[in-house]
Structure formats: structure tokens, C-alpha cells
Amino acid sequence: MAAIERLRRAVWRVQRALRALGQRRGGARALPFAATAHVLGALGGLLGAGQAQAVDLPEDRAELMYHLYDGGGVRAVGPAVLVRKSLLNKVSLSALYYADIVSNASIDVVTTASPYRETRNEFGVAADYAVRDALITLSAARSTEPDYIANTYNLDVTQEVFAGMTSVSLGFTYGSDEVGRKDLGFFDSAKHWRYRLGLTQILTPRWLATANFEVVSDDGYLGNPYRVALVFGAAVPERVPSTRSSRALRFRVIGEVVPGMSVRGAYRYFWDNWDITAHTFDLGVSRRFGEGWLVDAYARAYRQTDSALFFSDNATAETLYVSRNRQLSKFDSNAIGTQATWTWLRVPGRYEVRLSGLLEYGKTSFSNFTDLRTGRPYSFNATVAQVFVSADF
């Protein structure tokens, strides 16, 4: 009886929180602290119900990676490090460093500006706390470039229910950016809110499915101070709305078809209030080979079927908003990739060291964005590569 009462009370608190959220029209720009507290309170109430099933803290790990992206005139390389350690079996702390050394000679830069080189550094910390069936994760990250500073704060709660068959997760991200231009310094700001809902369901002893829903809201300076749009053939600084609200829904299935081999497939549907619509298809196969080899192969197809309302390759009217950002245009992007992992050292239950390499090759073709050098629709190829070593201990 007590459990059902707790459940009813929790549901009522959740309802109140959602009503508070729904109060704000147009994508809940500012999540009041009260609403978050309600949601957490509801979850806290539920944590009391049900039996004590242990949820695992993420395993201790150290990862070192070198990554590379080369495509469309942009070359970004850099190291990344992740360290995670659990303390007293209650909290797991992690720290992350990620660097992007970018040489940019992309189509925009080449046709409207001059190539440049800069470094972006990102630092992040996170804490995972296990409470009975739930895992609470708090994290923060700071990314700095000469003309852009982004601060991000995340809160995620994952709760195992239904004897561990189902796992429900809620997440919230708040981002606060400072936008600048090299010659002007920092002149504006942007804020972002993300709300995530995730569900992982065990279907059979060999199959599981996940569903994810995420709402993203942006407010502030959302354009690029260096980018120009074309209006009647003349270059003007782009004019981009100061708000954006988007939703994404993704379904994924993972299964072991034969012992030692798994397949996965996913589909994501994206839509926003800039009128962009996109479909993402993912397919992957993973297989064990011999003693300690694990090979993955994957394919990804991305279709941005509707460009932004105000996107124009060369505008033939004066509109309030206009942008030539190819990211907002209509395009197809296909990629195939493979990853090979070799277990180098292994003591079961103690530690494991793995070496991995990933290689991806992709092609992006635009429908309504032209290459000003040739006058034809623009397209480019891209290569992504990673080498990394991971140690679980």
C-alpha cells in the first residue's frame, strides 16, 4: 500500500513539473529550478519504492585518443584524454581533455575569406553517483577558442525498472556561450537548453532496443560572424533568427545474431522550427575474431530533406533572415566506416588494455548550395580517423 501511495505522489509531482515546463510556449526556453526539483523529487520518491537492485557505476577507465578529420578543405586533428575512477564504490569521477587543432580552408572560407588555423581546447569533469537502482550524473565542460567560449552543464538520471529489463533516463543540459569575432572581441552570447528522455528495453536474452527523444532550444546569437549570405549576388553579413527549437526522435535495435556477432540499426527523425527536417539511418555489425580481436563495420546515411526557411544559395528577395550556411541547406551525406580493436593485455576482473583504430570515409552532396568556384552544386569527401588506447582497471 505504501508503495502505491509513493507512486501516486511521485506521479503527481511529475505532473506538476511538466505543467510548469509546459507553461513556457515555444520550446521551454528557461527551465525553472523548481521544475527540475520536482522531477528529481519524483524520481527520489520512486527510488524508495521497489527492491534493492544494484546498478553499476561506470568502470574505471583511462583512454587516450588521437583523432583526425579531413574533408571539404577543413582539417581538424588533436588528442583527447579521459580518466575515470570510482571512489568508495559510491561515486565515479571523470575528467576529460579534448583538443581540436583546425586548419580551415573550407568552401566558405576559401570563397569569402582567407584560410586560418586555430586551436580549440575543451575540458570536462563529471561525477556519477549510484543510488540503489539509479545512476545520477553531473557534468560540466568548457570549450575555448580564440573567438568562442562555450560552457555546458549536464544532469542525467538513469533508473532501472522492471527488474532491470527497462532503464529510463532523463537528462538536462544548459549551455552558455560567449560569441566573438577576432577583430571585435566577444560581442554577444548564446544560451542552449536540452531535455532528453531515453528508454532502454531488453527484448530477449539477445536483443535490446532503445528510444531517445531530445528537445533542443537555443537563444541568442546563433549565426556565424564571419559568414556572409548572398542577396542578388552581393555579399551581406548573414541574418539568423535569435531563437531555435528542435526535436529529435531516435529508435535503435541491437542484437546478437550468432554467438560472437552483433548487429545494430537505428533511425532518427529530426525537425525544428527553422523548418529543417532530417532523417538519419545507421547500420552496424560487430564481430569477434580469434583471440582478442573485435571488428566493427558501419554505414550511415543522413538526409537533410528540408533546408531552413531562410536559407538561400543566392537570395532574390530581401527577407528579414537570410543565410548561406550550407549546414542548413538540403543535402545527403553518406559514410561507411570500420573499427578494429585488439585486446593487448587482459586479466579478467582486474584490468584490460585495448588498442583501437577507426577509419571512416564519407561523401556529402548538396542540392541547393553551389560551389561558387564552379557554379555547380557543391559536394565534398571526408575522412575520419581515430587511434586510441583504452585501459579498464
Binding site: V81, A163, L208
Partner: protein, 84 residues
């Protein structure tokens, strides 16, 4: 969603309301967990993990988000950047 699937809207709302009511009032009308904890060996295999390498996933997600208009629902929480 409402804009793109208008016919689905009232049906979905009704269905979900129904589920919520039944679950809340019925309480324990849920089926028994059909995959027992001792049958989860294959699901614990690294092959079946949703995300094996965090840094690798973060980099790939960053590469995509910077070049595409879509974002979100991937399960990778990243930071922001001025990579417009």
C-alpha cells in the same frame, strides 16, 4: 510532430492516456520480467554495449553535429563549441 503527423495525434494521445491510467490504477497489471537476471549473459557482452568507447563516440558525434543541421537524441552528451 503534430505538424507532420496530424492524423496520429488524437489516437496517440488517447492511447497514452489509456496506458497511463491503467498502469496507475491497475498498479501491478504488468507482465513478469521475461528475461531473468541469470539469462543476461549475452547482453553483458561488450559486443552488445550501446556505447563502448566514450571518446570515440564524442569525436564522431562532434564531427556530425558541426556539419549537419540535426542534433540530439544520440545518447552522447557533449559540450558546445563555436564550430558553426
Amino acid at each position: 510532430m503534430r505538424r507532420h503527423f496530424p492524423f496520429l495525434w488524437p489516437a496517440l494521445r488517447g492511447a497514452l492516456a489509456g496506458i497511463a491510467m491503467t498502469a496507475a490504477l491497475g498498479g501491478c497489471a504488468m507482465p513478469e520480467p521475461w528475461v531473468k537476471p541469470y539469462e543476461r549473459e549475452r547482453l553483458a557482452d561488450p559486443l552488445m554495449k550501446i556505447q563502448r568507447d566514450a571518446l570515440s563516440a564524442k569525436h564522431l558525434e562532434h564531427v556530425r553535429e558541426v556539419r549537419e543541421g540535426a542534433r540530439g537524441a544520440t545518447g552522447v552528451q557533449g559540450g558546445g563549441c563555436g564550430c558553426n
